[in-house]
Amino acid sequence: MSIKSRILMSVAAFALAGASPALAQTEIQWWHALTGANNDVVVKLSEDFNASQKDYKVVPVYKGSYPDTLNAGIAAFRAGQAPHILQVFEVGTGTMMSAKGAIKPVHEMMKEAGEKFDPAAYLPAISGYYSTAKGEMLSMPFNSSSMVMWYNKDAFKKAGLDPEKPPKTWPETFEAAKKLKAAGYDKCGVSNAWAPWANIEQFGAWHNIPLSTKVNGMAGADAVMNFNQSPLFLKHWTNLVELQKDKTYDYSGRTNNGEGRFTSGECPIFLTSSGFFGNVRANAKFDWANAAMPYYPEAAGAPQNSIIGGASLWVMGGKKPAEYKGVAKFFSFLSDVDRQVKLHTESGYLPITKAAYEKVKASGFYKDKPYLETPILELTNKPPTDNSKGLRYGSLVQIRDVWSEELESALNGQKTPKAALDAAVERGNQMLRQFERTAAR
């Protein structure tokens, strides 16, 4: 045998040896919407999983923003090309849940695949959002966050406020905002990003007020919104409208576009996602901290618990049992305590299991970084009630736009707060009724 043919032989043998395990591997497509450091987390998780076993290979694919990823998943499903795992933001939960046949409920898949799965292991405030009214988990929580109140400690000192004692209630917050305004923060005392999330969804849960009948839509698509009947909603909206006039409160838009107002020092008190942490750490040139969202003391039982934001992993329907087995294995891998601990402490996402949270707490991690515990304390403040489990409305993306529109028309004086609240509920109900008809079958 010549040297040449020997080389050829060994190359062929090498190629075969390399190829055969790959042939046996089942590929699992994972579409997600995370960029930058968070994208690295996704890639690292997939690589670790792939290295941990030989049968399955998770392939993460970045598909754009949250809405883009959801739309890509929908389009792919309609074309018969859906991925196995689709990351969907919390707003899309209603849309996913009602798509019977398009999704494979996680609890069902875990059972069929014979994976150990205990819904009680997950933080109830997180798993509750993605479960049916009966407590069946439909999707796998992945990256969760909640809304917290960020504040500028330097500004507090300047205004003669105690930076170690942030305001607890809304009246205290408005009082502090007035003092901050007097101390030179005259463009904006307090503000928030994600207007509907802050002033309707989180507000309802935190004060234990329902947004609609049927457990905020979780018990059925025939839910009817009724939060305009709560005097506390009207009081809050009236306060915001009143304080907008002299910018003690100043509106910062529907999305998180206005978050820069906090890091630039313009708004010393700012309510937004706990996920804002990375941005604050990188950009704020002042001493900062966060605290729980304010509440109205007259509300019975307030503060209740907050609801989550962020995204979860949905398993798409119509795949082979072998593939589901791989997805189930991957989900078990994700829920592993040490992996969750690492994910939480490195990325700032909330730990999704109780065990992971307890472990981080026991390690003393939060002593140095209390701001990472604030959202968890809010979420676990009290056991979730029917009003604070979460919400499940189809077309929620559109409904949020309508809510923002109505809040805006109250703030700019086109409507009274009462009229705006009524319209927000009425228009929301119209959308729910239309969605109900598509989801009924």
Binding site: S395, V397, Q434
Partner: protein
Amino acid sequence: MQKNAYFKGLTIPFLLLLPQLAITIVFFYWPASQAVWQSFLLEDAFGTSTQFVWFENYQMLFADPGYLKAFINTAIFSTFVCVFSLSIALLFAVMADRQIRGAEIYKTLLIWPYAVAPAIAGVLWIFMFDPSLGMLARGLQSLGIPWNPRLNGNHAMLLVILAATWKQISYNFLFFLAGLQSIPKSVIEAAVIDGARPMRRFWTIVFPLLSPTTFFLLVVNIVYVFFDTFGIIDTVTGGGPSGATETLVYKVFSDGKGGSNLGGSAAQSVLLLIMVIGLTAVQFRFIERKVSY
């Protein structure tokens, strides 16, 4: 001997037409017919349940005060954008057409913005006019003008009109300049000899001779404001505040893509298509008569 300028028989003309027809059918008629079909359906996002509901999507649109508002917004938005972008571009073109030093640089600079994508153009304008981050917004505020497009609908509308106009000026400028340069110099010279002043020369000679260009641009600009501006609106205002800058095409985009309301969105796009066909027909029927080629 006379050459035939046309083909005998039908085979070759049809063969030559075929690629064009195929492209038109695949990329226009097929999607358009899908939109019409979709507008009669009530469907969830995944297409797992579909009902045929006749004209219900249309009825809902006409019952929706937001749709009427979007219609009015579109009328205001498109009128201002067309008038501003055409008149400013004409002014620039007339100035660039003169024999001035550095005209080439001037022309190049004016054409550049056309290379900017609508969404990027929107972001540029938001950078300048965002009430808390924008340099120009701060300037306005320091002059005592309470500039706040986040809550003031008129400010928001003004901002999207400016951004959309700015984006379109280059395109119009290019065509106007080409039009001006094709006007025979001898005609103008004759007018000068007759003692006509610049303004009079412009309105009696140049402008009528430009009318084919102007008409073409009017049609193109209307199509632009109706269909091509949602990127700008999405990045600058997102349709807000309280729907003040939601135009018809933006509503199609946000209801269909963001809201997964496919039937309603399809009904809107069918109506939009009819409107633009109607507008174009009116333009060709009535305005084109005033055009002298």
